[in-house]
Symmetry: C2
Subunit: 401 residues, 2 copies
């Protein structure tokens, strides 16, 4: 057996990103789902919602007070016989006799025959009559049906990001369920014989699996529903099984590890045999990348170094996932870089940086395995592929982590 490793030309970062975006964009046409209104906060309406009824539903009082005909209180003080009390929720349909008053609570129906309400503060009552001290005009403190919204009127348009105020309005017209855009469903599948779950006792050569938990967090943080987080050893049979499980339940699958140039690259070996494309992207960290389609489901294969995995997510997946979730695009800002850096020729480099007064500083520790160092970063600094020397003070593009 003889092997010789030629260096194939690396694909530009934006080319690979566009291929991934093309693979994922059809998910924009995913169907809506119906959720209880209590679970709809932060989701987007899938359809226009019109009011199924008028608001207010019926003519009601804006105040605790006395419903009268305005003409009965044209001259004040006026003492009127009390013809009854209407509480909110009273469903009995009292009618106001001419020249009388009916006590009404806020929100209670204003009885036919009354055309205004006198607030209780401007009255005195002995329980049999009420003395009204201020005149009122027709319509005062009476809420007419449909003055907030009319049945059939648009209440909230398709695409509305549901905030508490929308939830309030939609609940007020009695909607118990809402049709919202279904979240993109993702499965995460990590690989590597060396990875062990939290709580395990590590043998020599083993490390804890952080990529599964970290990718799941990053996906959730960008509006994606994570339907499974699984792990496979480097055995082909096990990876095939876990991959089939992931593909069966998700719109998109993310794998980590097994894509490089070693002897045990299970992801690349299994997926390339099914038509997946694997190769080098001109990116640091995160050069080895794969993109496949299994049973119509896009499978994005990131390298396994933890920083490479997270940078791959940020660069290739996060923009399109936010677009699909209807979240705002991440702002790209320009800031002076506070230190000089070198960058390898022909690779676009994403350095981990920290915003400070006056610009952006590198966090110490830029290796693709330095995941603890990355926790101190709040931005990625984008160094173009053609650039090899960046003097201190150079204006660089940064994107938030």
């Amino acid at each position: 057996m003889s092997s010789r490793h030629a260096t194939a030309p690396a694909r530009p970062v934006d080319d690979h990103r566009r291929r991934i975006e093309d693979a994922l964009r059809p998910l924009a046409g995913r169907v809506a789902e119906t959720v209880p209104i209590a679970a709809a906060l932060g989701r987007r309406l899938a359809v226009d919602v019109s009011a199924p009824l008028d608001l207010p539903v019926f003519r009601n009082s804006a105040m605790d007070g006395y419903a009268v005909a305005a003409e009965s209180v044209a001259i004040v003080p006026a003492t009127l016989p009390l013809a009854g009390v209407v509480a909110a929720g009273n469903t009995e349909g009292l009618v106001l006799p001419p020249g009388a008053a009916v006590k009404v609570m806020t929100g209670a129906p204003v009885p036919p025959g009354a055309d205004c309400v006198v607030p209780v503060e401007h009255t005195e009552s002995d329980g049999v009559t009420v003395t009204i001290r201020t005149s009122r005009a027709t319509g005062d403190f009476v809420r007419e049906p449909g003055t907030d919204v009319r049945a059939g009127q648009l209440l909230a348009a398709a695409g509305t990001l549901l905030r508490p105020r929308h939830i309030a309005a939609l609940a007020a017209v009695g909607l118990g369920e809402l049709s919202v855009t279904r979240r993109v469903r993702a499965a995460v599948l990590t690989t590597g014989d060396e990875l062990r779950p939290a709580g395990a006792v590590l043998l020599p050569g083993q490390i804890f699996n952080s990529n599964g938990i970290a990718l799941a967090a990053a996906l959730s943080d960008n509006g994606v529903e994570v339907v499974s987080v699984a792990h496979s050893t480097d055995e082909h049979a096990e990876f095939r099984l876990r991959l089939a499980e992931a593909v069966a339940q998700a719109d998109v699958v993310f794998t980590s590890g097994g894509v490089s140039m070693g002897d045990f690259e299970v992801v690349k070996e299994v997926l390339a045999a099914q038509g997946g494309e694997f190769g080098s992207v001109a990116l640091q960290p995160g050069g080895p990348q794969g993109l496949s389609t299994v049973d119509g489901v896009p499978v994005l294969s990131f390298p396994g170094n933890p920083v490479s995995t997270m940078v791959s997510f940020e660069v290739f997946a996060r923009p399109i996932l936010r677009e699909l979730a209807g979240l705002p695009a991440l702002p790209i800002t320009e800031l002076p870089l506070l230190q000089a850096v070198r960058s390898p020729a022909g690779k676009r480099q994403f350095l981990r940086g920290k915003l400070t007064e006056g610009g952006v500083a590198l966090v110490s520790g830029q290796g693709s395995h330095l995941i603890a160092a990355m926790a101190h970063a709040d931005v990625l600094i984008d160094i173009p592929a053609a650039v090899t020397e960046v003097p201190a003070g150079t204006i660089v593009e940064v994107r938030p982590l």
Copy 2:
């Protein structure tokens, strides 16, 4: 029976807000809770977290390649006997014989005796020997233990808002659970005989209950865990029962309705008898307000008109709840008001507004029952109590909804 309603002087908005904040601020001392790391995104660490082990855990290879002694490849090309293969996850503890090479995968232990790794791209192998084409210095492509973080070093400080990058680092050191600040637990209790749940057939005089769902959404949106949403009729016995249930499970209870000047004000009647304070706050909408303590649990009582409920939440509860959740304070900005408005003397008014180019416009429909109109607003416009006339173009304070 004779009744006369005197108008008591209304309490200033900021006074009432401070009383509520004083009642809720002791919740800042609530205990931490332990959550699985997979559920910790967006929570705040309750304690400093130090690394329980070194990262990297052991000396390992940064590349797929050949582990050698640098002196063996000082003169190239050099053909060395292959002494074995170490995959990532290999736990067998191979030692490099002098003058030989061991094939290593990325992340695999670098065997004792080797001090650098030659990337596979710069080699050729027949499976028995390997020919190395580039020299390497001691340390090249070798990751030393503890170079990312050392055991005992601070990994993330108490108070850190956990983003995916922190989750990644904490998972990498094998932490399966994290101690995070417990969320404030709130119960919502709406009242009113006229309120019916979604899906009900409304009788005359009845309306749908929107306050429970809307308050729950507003609470969730501000970092609060909603432990129950219940409804009571205006019967004292039922309200007492539902209140006791709410108090038993929550840090703070929010009620809506039953606080005004009507004949059936269950919230005011029951809670005032237990020492709660009820009265008028110089606020529009949302004048009638109550604040009580039941079994040590603060109970905030908002009026029942849907817009009054939501404005009460925004003005009195949202700032302190965000502070308790560790969320950033809401920005208050100054913008020109595009229309002239009048405002009642002695009442601080919060108008519903919409940001537009050039300033802030009123949404049409400012009554305290116009909940559909409020869905079109994205800010509250704060008109001070002393102001009665606001000419168009006046600079006003606005806060986001």
